[in-house]
Amino acid sequence: MTITASPLSRRPDDAVVGTPLPHESAALHVTGRALYTDDLVGRTSGVLHAHPVQAPHAHATITSVDVAAAHDVPGVVRVLTAADVPGINDAGVKHDEPLFPSEVMYHGHAICWVLGESLEAARLGAAAVEVTYAPLPALLTVEEAIAAQSFQGARPTLARGDSPAGLAHAARVFEGVTSFAGQEHFYLETHCSLALVDENGQVFVQSSTQHPSETQEIVAHVLGVPNHAVTVQCLRMGGGFGGKEMQPHGLAAVAALGATLTGRPVRVRLTRAQDITMTGKRHGFHATWTAGFDADGRFTALEATLTSDGGWSLDLSEPVLSRALCHIDNAYWIPDITVHGRIARTHKTSQTAFRGFGGPQGMLVIEDVIGRCAPALGIDPAELRRRNFYADGQATPYGQPVRHPGRMVAAWEQVIASSSMEARRAEIDDWNATQPHRKRGIAITPVKFGISFNLTAFNQGGALVHVYKDGSVLISHGGTEMGQGLHTKMLQVAATALGVPLERVRLAPTRTDKVPNTSATAASASADLNGGAVKNACEQILARLTPIRELVPDASWEELVAAAYRGRVQLWAAGFYRTEGLNWDAATMTGHPFKYFAYGAAVTEVEVDGFTGAYTTRRVDIVHDVGDSLSPLVDVGQIEGGFVQGAGWLTLEDLRWDESDGPSRGRLATQAASTYKLPSLSELPEQFNVALLAGAHEDGVVYGSKAVGEPPLMLALSVREALRDACAAFGPAGHSVELASPATPEAVYWALTAARGAS
C-alpha cells in the first residue's frame, strides 16, 4: 500500500478509478428504494402542503391580494405573503427576484402560497385567494425586447484583432440571422423542498438542489437569520441538468418560512405544470452575424451580436452569456473577431443554467454559419470545419492558449475512420439518387468545451473524510448527485486514494453542515473539484498514518487504523481543492478561465421523409475525450445521455409561449409532457457507437480525468447538420439550407420544400 501523496493526476496501478461500475445507487433505483426529497414526506408526520397562487398575466401590477376566502377552505392552515417575510423578500443572488412579488413579471408567477393539511386543501385554498391585477404590456420574444431596447445586466464584448479589416480582406463575406429556441429541463423529478424546524430554531431543509450552499444562503436571508441557522441536505435528485442550480432557492425559502411560522414540516413540491410554468429554462438566442472567409475557406473574421432571452430576472443569464461568447469559436481559429452580447428582459420564466450553460448556444451559431456558408463556398462542410481547426500555438478570442488541439484532430480522424464516414457519404449519395421521396444526410461536427467556472472563485471544492476505528470510511463532499454518477466517482476516488477496497467506503448525503461554502454542482467540474478535495483529505489521513505504518509495516488496513487510533492519530480530515492557474476579467472578456478543454466529434446519419419532414436517426458515432476516465460506464452514460438531450433541444423540444395579443398572452402553451415532447425510445439512434478518446491523460486533474457532464450535449449539433444535409439533397447542388431550431418535422418539411423549390 502506498501512503505517500502523489501528483493529482497520477493513477496507481491498482486503482479503483477507471473500473467500469454501475451507478452507486443502481440497486436502490431499480427496486424503488432510492429516496428522493418528496419520498420523505410519508416518513414525516404532520406535514403541511404548499400550493402557489399563480398569476394569469404575463405582466401586471398586483392591486390587491385578499386571502380571507382561503381561510374558509377546510384544511387551510395559513397563507404566506410578503408580510410574513422576516428577512429579505428575495429569492435570488442578484436581488431582482422578490419571493412574493408586487408586480407580476410572467404568466404563472407565484404571488403567494397557501399551506394546507392536504395538497387538495392547499390547492382549493389557492383557488380561493382573490388577487386583482392591473395588466401591463408584456414583451414575449427577443425581437420584441430588442425593438423595445429591453435589456438587463452586463453587455459584454469579446474581441480580438480588427474584425472590420478581417472582413474587408475576406474573399467571401456572408451575413445572416440565426435564432433558436430554449429548452425545458424536464428532469423527471420536479422541484421539491421539505423544511423542518427543531426545538432550537435550527432550520433543516431537504431540497432537490444542485447548490445546497446557495439554497442555504437564500433561505437564511429570507428568514433573516445567519447561515449557520440553516442546514440544507440533498439526498439525490431525479435529474437536474442545471435546472436545480438556482431555481430551488425560492421554493426552499417558502417551505422554510412556512415551517418557521407554523412549527410544522412544510412540503413544497411542484406539479409538472407548476414546475414548467414557474422555473427557468435554457436561454433561446437571437444572433446576427457577418462572417468572412478567405479563398481557401478559412475564417478571416466574424462579427456577431448575440442576444439571449433572459426572461424576467437576471438569474444566471450573465455567466450563461459569457460562456456563449467564449464558445462561439467552438473548435475554430477565427483571427479577427468581435462578438457583442446582451440579455433581453422578457416577460417569461427566468431563464437559467442548462447543461452546456451557453456553450451550446454559442456553438450553434458558428455551426449554423458554417452549415449555411459551405454550399456557397463550394466546400464540403466536413472539410470546411476541419480546415478551420485550431492549431498548436493559437489562442482563443479571449486569449487563452488552446491546449492540446491535436486531440481535437485525433477525435475527428478517429470517428471518421470508425464510422466509415467517407464510404457512407458515397453510399448515401448513391441511395439518394434513386429515392425521390426520401433522402439521407450525414454530418460531422466537433466540440471543444472549456472546463471550469468562468468566475474563478467558484473553482473550489471541499470534502470530509472519516476513517472509523474499524477501518470503514465515510466520505462527504460538496457535490450533489443528480444521476450524473458523481458519487460513484467520488467513492472510486476515495478507495483509490486510500488504497482500500471500494466496499470499505460509504458516502453520506450532501449537507451544508458537513461541507460548507460549496459551489454549485455545475459546469461539469464537480468531479474535478470534489475529487481533488476527496483525494486531498485522504492524503492528509495517509500522511498521518505514515509514521504508524513504519511501526507496523505488515499490518492490514484495519490493523493500521486501529494502531493509529491507539496512537492518537486524527483519522479524519477536511479536504480542499482549488483549480490553479485560472484568471478571468469579465469586463474585458479576457483571461485564462478554463483549466482545459474537453474535445469530441460525432458523425450522424439521418433519413428524412420528403412527404412529411419526419426523420429518423440511423446511426451515430462518437469519439469523446474524457481524459483517463474515472468511471467508464458512467462516462459513456453521460456521453450518450448528453447527446440525446442535445438532439432533443435541436430537433424535438418545442417551447411555445402564447405570443398573441389575446387574453392568455404570455402563457406557456407547452406546459405538459403531452405538449412538450422529450426524446423517447423512438429517438434513440438505430446504431449508437461511443468510444472514449485514447491517450487523453490530463495533467493536473484528479487521476488524469476530464469533465464529462456537459460537452457531449453539443455533439448533437451533428444531428442538426445531418438534417440540413438531407434537406439539401432534395434540391439542387449548392443550395444553402436554412433550418429552424428546433428542427421539428414541420421545420424540416419547410426546409426541404424550400430546397425543392430552389433553382
Binding site: 431499480v30 428522493y36 383557488a127 421521396h437 419526419a614 445521455g641 403531452s674 422529450l678
Partner: protein
C-alpha cells in the same frame, strides 16, 4: 371492505378520498418507488403491474403495466398490483432489475421503477419468444421495445435500457410471477365506495345513468385521470364501466366486426389479430402501450376529441357505434356521431356498448399520423384511408381525418375527387389539392395550420407513392 393486494399484501381502500389515484394510494402506503413525473400518463414514471385477464381472451392471466397516476385507486378494488419494490430487493434483484442496474440503465433513477414495471410486463408476456436476430425495435429475445415506449428517461439516452431489455432471458420455471399467469386473473368486483361505483352489470349501470345523468363515466380513466390531476376536475360520482361483460364482447362475421367499447386497445389489437389492418396500424401509433393497456374505443370516441386517433380510422371503415340506454339501443353511423368540439350524439344516459365495422373491408387501407415524435405522441394530423381500387379505378373512397376541424371528419370532397377516377398520379395530385383544403385546421403548439393543410395533401401523395400500381 375493499382491498387491493399490493406486492402480496392486502391494503384497505376504505376511506380513501374518491379522487385519489393508484399512485398516491401506493405512495401513501409507503411504497414510494412509483413516481409522479407528469401526472398525465405521458412519462411512465408511475408504471406498476396489475394482473389482468389475458388480452387475447384466453383464460390465462397476464401481467399488464399501467400508469398508476391515471387509474382511480378505487378502480383496482379486488385487484392485484406489483410495484418495483415487489419485483425484487437490492440483495435479490429481479432479472429485469439486474439487467438495468448492471448495464447503466439508471442514472438519476427517478424513471427507473416505472421502466422496471413496463419491462417486467414484457418480460412475462406469454407469447414473447426468441425469434431471429431482431430489428430496431425487437430483440432477439422477442422483447418488443414498444412495451417501454411510454416511459421517458431524461438521463441515459435509452441505449443501456434497450440493451438491458434485449439481454433478458425467459422467466425461470419457478418464477412465482410467471406461475401467476397460469391461474385466472381477479374478477371485477362490484364496488360502491364514496364517489366511485363499479356496477355489476349493464342494466344497473344504465339505470344509474338514467337516475344521475351528471355522473362521470370512466373506462380506462386515461382522459378523466388527466382532468382530475391537471385540471382539478372533481365529480360527485364516477361510474366505472370497463369491466362490464356487455361492453367487452368481440365477434367477427362475414358482414361485420363487432367490438365491445370497453375492450382496451391492447385487447382489441390482440383479438383482431390483423383482421382489420387499418385498425391495427392505428393502434400501433396510438399513444403508448401503457395507455393502450387502459384506453378503450368507447372512451376515445366518447370524449369526442378532434385529435383522437381512433375516429379517423373508424370513419374510413364506415363504422357505427351502438348506444344503449335504459330504453334500449340505437346504432349511429360514426360519420353522424360527432356534433361539435367534444360533443356527440350520445345522451348523458347512454353508454357506447359496441363499435361495428362492416365487412368486407376495402382492399387498400392505411393510417397516416403526423406528429413530432414516433412513439407516444398526439397527432397534429391523422388520416385514415380505405380505398377500393378495381382495374385501376377508384371505385370507392373513404377518408377519415383528425386534427383539422372541431370534430373528426370525413374528407367528402376528396372522396368525390377520387371515386370513379383512375388511380393515377394525376388523379392523386388533383385530389391531394382538394384534401389539403379539407377542414379548417388551426395553428397551435403542435403544428401550424399551413403545415396541417400541407400534410393532408402530402398524406395522399405518400399513400399513392407507397402503393403505386
Amino acid at each position: 371492505m375493499a382491498d387491493i393486494v399490493v406486492n402480496g399484501q392486502p391494503r384497505d381502500l376504505t376511506g380513501v378520498p374518491p379522487h385519489t389515484n393508484v399512485l398516491d394510494f401506493l405512495r401513501g402506503c409507503g411504497l414510494t418507488g412509483a413516481k409522479e413525473g407528469c401526472a398525465e400518463g405521458e412519462c411512465g414514471a408511475c408504471a406498476v403491474l396489475v394482473v389482468r385477464p389475458a388480452a387475447d381472451g384466453s383464460p390465462a392471466a397476464e401481467w399488464t403495466a399501467i400508469n398508476s397516476c391515471l387509474a382511480p385507486a378505487a378502480a383496482l378494488d379486488g385487484q392485484e398490483v406489483v410495484t418495483a419494490e415487489g419485483l425484487g430487493r437490492p440483495d435479490a434483484l429481479h432479472p429485469v432489475q439486474r439487467e438495468l442496474a448492471t448495464r447503466g440503465g439508471s442514472q438519476c433513477g427517478y424513471c427507473t421503477p416505472g421502466f422496471v414495471c413496463s419491462m417486467g410486463a414484457e418480460y412475462y408476456r406469454a407469447d414473447r419468444v426468441p425469434a431471429g436476430d431482431g430489428d430496431r425495435y425487437h430483440g432477439a429475445n422477442g422483447f418488443d421495445l414498444h412495451a417501454i415506449g411510454g416511459n421517458l428517461c431524461r438521463c441515459t439516452g435509452y441505449r443501456p435500457i434497450k440493451d438491458a431489455a434485449f439481454a433478458l432471458g425467459l422467466p425461470a420455471p419457478d418464477d412465482v410471477m410467471a406461475q401467476r399467469r397460469g391461474t385466472a386473473a381477479p374478477v371485477a368486483v362490484a364496488t360502491d365506495l364514496r364517489g366511485f361505483v363499479r356496477p355489476a352489470g349493464l342494466t344497473e349501470a344504465l339505470h344509474l345513468l338514467r337516475e344521475r345523468p351528471e355522473v362521470v363515466v370512466v373506462a380506462g380513466s386515461t382522459d378523466w385521470g388527466v382532468d382530475v390531476n391537471l385540471r382539478g376536475r372533481r365529480a360527485e360520482l364516477v361510474v366505472a364501466v370497463d369491466r362490464l361483460p356487455e361492453l367487452r364482447g368481440f365477434s367477427v362475421t362475414d358482414t361485420e366486426v363487432r367490438v365491445g367499447a370497453a375492450l382496451t386497445l391492447t385487447e382489441l389489437d390482440r383479438r383482431l389479430a390483423g383482421r382489420l389492418p387499418l385498425v391495427s396500424e392505428m393502434i400501433a401509433q396510438f399513444a403508448s402501450r401503457l395507455i393502450r393497456n387502459c384506453a378503450t374505443l368507447g372512451g376515445n370516441l366518447g370524449t369526442g376529441s378532434p385529435i383522437g386517433d381512433a375516429a379517423p380510422a373508424l370513419l374510413a371503415l364506415d363504422a357505427s357505434v351502438v348506444l344503449a340506454s335504459a330504453d334500449g339501443t340505437r346504432t349511429v353511423p360514426l360519420s353522424e356521431f360527432f356534433t361539435g368540439y367534444r360533443t356527440s350524439q350520445r345522451r348523458p344516459d347512454e353508454l357506447i356498448t359496441d363499435v361495428v365495422v362492416p365487412r368486407p373491408v376495402s382492399g387498400l387501407t392505411a393510417f397516416h399520423k403526423v406528429a413530432k415524435r414516433a412513439f407516444d405522441d398526439i397527432s397534429s394530423v391523422a388520416a385514415g384511408y380505405a380505398l377500393d381500387v378495381v382495374d385501376g379505378v377508384v371505385r370507392r373512397a373513404r377518408i377519415g381525418l383528425g386534427g383539422v376541424a372541431a370534430t373528426p371528419i370525413r374528407a367528402l370532397a376528396t372522396e368525390a375527387a377520387l371515386e370513379g377516377r383512375p388511380w393515377t398520379a394525376e388523379t392523386v395530385d388533383a385530389a391531394a389539392a382538394t384534401l389539403a383544403a379539407e377542414g379548417t385546421p388551426i395553428s397551435d403548439q403542435r403544428a401550424s395550420a399551413a403545415y396541417r393543410s400541407a400534410m393532408l395533401g402530402q398524406s395522399l401523395r405518400k399513400l399513392f407513392a407507397e402503393v403505386a400500381p
